[in-house]
């Protein structure tokens, strides 16, 4: 049983990462990651929606038929996103002012429908919520890495304006890595997003290859699989 949850964690965070392995959800990924803080905000908001939609879709999975499942899932996801949008606007207004732009974009994130279709519609509630959380965490990880790469090269800073997103306690995260940097515009603009994404994908493949060439690290997951 534990192995199953471990597999969900590993898949969501790394081996089946939405952006880095499945290359899904590239539209919000490239649009939002001009800074690490923006990527973090979008990632957290998406993770929240993924957890809720995973649990809700898993709850209704036994009454929904194959023929109408797609409209039902789309309806549920759009409803959840709208509710999250309204609730944040009313009760988490400071955060909404920073993230508000990104939230309606979450509806168009195909990763959410993808997880609903391939996981939540077939698995129990707890596993689906965990899968949502881990997929969301993996998405956040990918967005923060991409945002950090683009921000460092493009503006010479890291986590600039993080305190706007997370509150004044997190102002220590804001770093100016290259003082008096004139900026490299290309990396901030959308083409830079595609360029950086390409290098990040290459980086992930290189790490995977390195891991695969080490027998000791490979044997551990293999026994996991055998026991499961």
């Amino acid at each position: 049983m534990n192995n199953r949850y471990l597999a969900i964690v590993r898949d969501g965070l790394w081996s089946n990462n939405v952006v880095l392995a499945q290359t899904l959800a590239l539209c919000p990924t490239v649009a939002v990651t001009s800074s690490a803080s923006n990527g973090l905000g979008m990632g957290l908001a998406t993770a929240a929606v993924l957890v809720i939609s995973g649990a809700v879709i898993s709850l209704v999975r036994n009454i929904v038929t194959q023929e109408v499942r797609i409209p039902v899932f789309v309806l549920l996801i759009a409803g959840i996103v709208t509710l999250v949008d309204m609730a944040m606007n009313a009760w988490l207004h400071e955060l909404y002012k920073v993230l508000g732009l990104f939230i309606p974009l979450i509806v168009t994130n195909c990763a959410i429908l993808g997880r609903a279709e391939s996981f939540a519609s077939r698995q129990p509630v707890l596993a689906s919520a965990l899968d949502g959380l881990m997929t969301g965490a993996g998405f956040t990880l990918a967005l923060v890495i991409l945002g950090a790469v683009r921000e460092v090269i493009g503006s010479g800073t890291l986590f600039a304006h993080a305190s706007l997103l997370l509150g004044p306690h997190f102002s220590f995260m804001e770093m100016e890595l290259i003082p008096h940097y004139r900026g490299f515009l290309l990396m901030v603009l959308p083409p830079g997003g595609f360029l950086a994404l390409g290098f990040v994908l290459v980086g992930k493949r290189l790490i995977d290859r390195r891991l695969a060439s080490r027998p000791s690290l490979v044997s551990a997951p293999a026994t996991d699989g055998a026991m499961a």
């Binding site: 023929e67 409209p71 549920l76 409803g79 309204m86 609730a87 207004h93 304006h161 515009l185 901030v188």
Partner: protein
């Protein structure tokens, strides 16, 4: 693990799909309606707070003792990309008008730039702030007061300071700095601020007329929080 039988009889019936889809749609709309009822008052209050705090940035609290949102006049105007009318909020000390605050919209590089500006009765700028914009992050967004001091260069200026020919960015022979890598954004802001001052100049008499709004303000009262939008 799953005990589902794929060909469970009634589920194959077309009516089941219709009822299912309809039922889910009904449940989703009911939830959305409920959510709207629960949040709309709160959202309107937050929007009024936002408007109030953006007005407070351009009209210092020490300049007035009235509620700006309660003393608003609609002015017919075609300027500033807000066809039809523009709402002007008036700051008073006692009965005397000490400042006016209003929003202007201009076309930037990425879309509309919304500004709020405060003007004293002589036409001198008390301050300008950007409320919303879609300019390039890291370049055009230096028009935000939280990211650079550029926008504060407008404070104290008026239509004849600098002279009308100098109301532009330095690249166009004007008085205001542009940003490295972004000229269109500051140019749009300078143009919009100038339009805002012209709007004030052409409606000055109407806006500073003291009597009718004083009664309007008395009717609505200072405690009422009318939503600005």
């Amino acid at each position: 693990m799953s005990t589902e039988t794929p060909t469970a009889g009634f589920r194959q019936w077309v009516g089941y799909h219709a009822v299912l889809l309809g039922g889910i749609a009904l449940a989703a709309s009911a939830l959305l309606a409920l959510g709207d009822v629960q949040t709309s008052a709160e959202i309107a209050a937050r929007a009024a707070e936002d408007l109030k705090s953006s007005l407070a940035q351009v009209v210092p609290a020490s300049m007035h003792d009235n509620d700006l949102l309660a003393d608003a006049v609609d002015v017919a105007a075609a300027e500033g990309g807000r066809p039809g009318h523009n709402t002007v909020y008036r700051a008073r000390r006692g009965a005397r008008i000490t400042a006016l605050a209003y929003r202007m919209a201009g076309q930037g590089y990425g879309g509309t730039i919304d500004l709020v500006m405060g003007v004293d009765p002589t036409g001198k700028l008390l301050g300008v702030r950007v409320i919303s914009h879609q300019e390039t992050p890291g370049l055009g967004d230096r028009i935000e007061a939280s990211k650079s001091d550029w926008i504060k260069a407008f404070t104290g200026r008026s239509l004849d300071d600098p002279s009308p020919a100098k109301w532009g960015v330095k690249k166009d022979g004007g008085d205001f700095d542009q940003f490295t890598g972004a000229t269109i954004t500051p140019r749009a802001v300078v143009k919009t601020v100038k339009e805002g001052l012209e709007f004030f100049a052409s409606h000055r008499a109407e806006l500073l007329q003291p009597s009718p709004p004083a009664t309007a303000a008395a009717q609505t009262g200072p405690a009422s929080t009318r939503s600005g939008s």
